[in-house]
């Protein structure tokens, strides 16, 4: 459980970090919180030649709220999401999701940018970013570009990040009036990876669902909008009944593989249960 040898460097500025990453020609890996990366290094799942510690770069810490957009720097820690009044007020989905990420000690170190760049399909923040319609600001020595979260996640641990490119910040449109956020996940132990999870942005007219944007985690290869279920629940009234059309829609969006821990159809069943639970919970909140 010891990592292989590597070199380490802590750049003095973001420009310096870009320069190092460009020079390293794909052999360098950025580290910030390191809560997934260092576990992987200890287990020798990866063996980069150079670790570039971007964890103290001020340029990646800025937060702002302008023109309906909350911009969070890539180094926003999961614990910051939980404690932030700005997030609670404008991005309640993140406030709800953050307690599910690891444990307190992990949340004290792990970062928003790190979680998105790692793109674990069982992670909370990629699903939230897609559900919220976020845009990622990516930077390199060539300049900055913006990519929508739903285009950023390409597959299992795969993203649109190019070599020598870093996530600088994430721009979240604030939740509009009438929109409600719901998050839930099922895991074996508190803080463990989700077997099934759901990030939902929904608008309701009393007990009737007007629109829904549902993103699953833990039972899919990457964070993406579950279009079929999101469309199938529109017009339904809470509490949601078990229905064939709903089951068919969720089957179009999700086809979880069998794993040694759980059969795929069990996961699919849990996804249905969780979807009804989250939507019914939102309806109850809307009625209250």
């Amino acid at each position: 459980m010891k990592s292989r040898n590597f070199r380490y460097i802590r750049p003095a500025s973001l420009a310096h970090a870009y320069q190092i990453l460009t020079e390293a020609n794909g052999e360098a890996v950025p580290v910030a919180g390191g809560q997934s990366l260092l576990a992987g290094l200890n287990m020798r799942l990866s063996a980069p030649k150079l670790l570039v510690d971007i964890g103290d770069l001020r340029e990646l810490m800025h937060q702002s709220h302008l023109g309906g957009i909350v911009r969070l720097g890539a180094l926003t820690r999961h614990g910051d999401l939980l404690r932030s009044e700005l997030v609670r007020q404008h991005l309640p989905l993140l406030t709800q999701a953050a307690p599910h990420i690891g444990h307190i000690a992990i949340r004290n170190r792990g970062t928003l940018g790190g979680s998105l760049a790692y793109a674990d399909p069982a992670a909370e923040l990629p699903a939230c970013a897609v559900a919220l319609g976020a845009t990622l600001v990516l930077g390199s020595s060539a300049g900055e570009r913006e990519v929508k979260a739903e285009d950023f996640f390409k597959g299992l641990f795969e993203t649109d990040l190019r070599p020598a490119e870093l996530i600088v910040a994430v721009k979240f449109p604030v939740v509009q009036p009438g929109m409600a956020a719901g998050f839930a996940e099922l895991s074996r132990r508190h803080g463990d990876f989700a077997m099934v999870g759901l990030a939902a942005i929904v608008s309701m007219q009393r007990d009737r669902i007007d629109s829904a944007r549902l993103v699953y985690l833990g039972c899919i290869d990457r964070a993406k909008v579950a279009h079929a279920v999101s469309a199938a629940v529109v017009g339904l009234r809470a509490p949601l009944a078990v229905s064939a059309s709903f089951d068919e829609a969720i089957g179009q969006d999700l086809a979880p593989d069998d794993t040694p821990e759980m059969r795929g159809d069990t996961k699919l069943h849990l996804a249905k249960v969780l979807t009804r639970r989250v939507l019914n919970g939102l309806a109850e909140r809307a009625a209250a």
Binding site: M1, K2, S3, R4, N5, F6, R7, Y8, I9, R10, P11, A12, S13, H16, Q19, I20, E23, A24, V31, G34, Q35, L38, A39, L41, N42, M43, L50, L51, V52, D53, G55, D56, G79, P99, G102, H103, I104, A105, I106, N108, R109, R189, H190, G191
Partner: protein
């Protein structure tokens, strides 16, 4: 480190604060903080269980907040303040928790105890009134294979209640 350095090093100079005292050292880039504390500084109160962030035995405080010693590189603490169970025992910050742990036999083999104490210390530092479920959730990142947790949760709850009465 000069801004012209682009390739990094396998040996890193660190300049940090450890248990309130300045610490200057040369560390191996690949060495994690818990190994550094134990092997180089002989601070063996920080324990190593799983070495991939699950068990919590290696918990330390970095700039006042808990962190996994196994998921932090020694090189990463440069410029930061680290506290271990040794430092927090000497300055008395853990005294109340330690007393309640001993009273209830909440430390059986003792392997998880330093991590438990530091996590409990952070959990109670806000001064918030926590339910038993809150305490369980807050302590859930630390594993104990002896006590069945009840005595540990009892001890944390007892310290919280005592402090609230003051």
């Amino acid at each position: 480190m000069s801004t012209r350095d682009l390739s990094g090093h396998e040996d890193i100079e660190i300049d940090a604060t450890l248990n309130g005292k300045p610490l200057k050292r040369r560390v191996k880039a690949r060495q994690h903080l818990a190994d550094f504390l134990r092997q180089e500084l002989e601070l063996t109160g920080t324990h190593l269980g799983c070495e991939h962030g699950i068990c919590g035995a290696c918990t330390v405080l970095i700039d006042g907040r808990t962190a996994r010693g196994c998921l932090t590189l020694a090189a990463q603490i440069s410029g930061k303040s680290v506290e271990t169970v040794e430092g927090l025992t000497e300055n008395g910050m853990l005294a109340e928790l330690q007393k309640e742990f001993i009273e209830r036999n909440a430390a059986q083999c003792g392997f998880c105890s330093s991590g438990m104490l530091l996590t409990a210390h952070e959990l109670l530092s806000s001064g918030d009134s926590l339910s038993r479920a809150d305490i369980r959730k807050g302590m859930s990142g630390n594993m104990c294979r002896c006590t069945g947790y009840h005595a540990i949760i009892d001890a944390v709850e007892a310290v919280m209640t005592t402090r609230a009465r003051r």
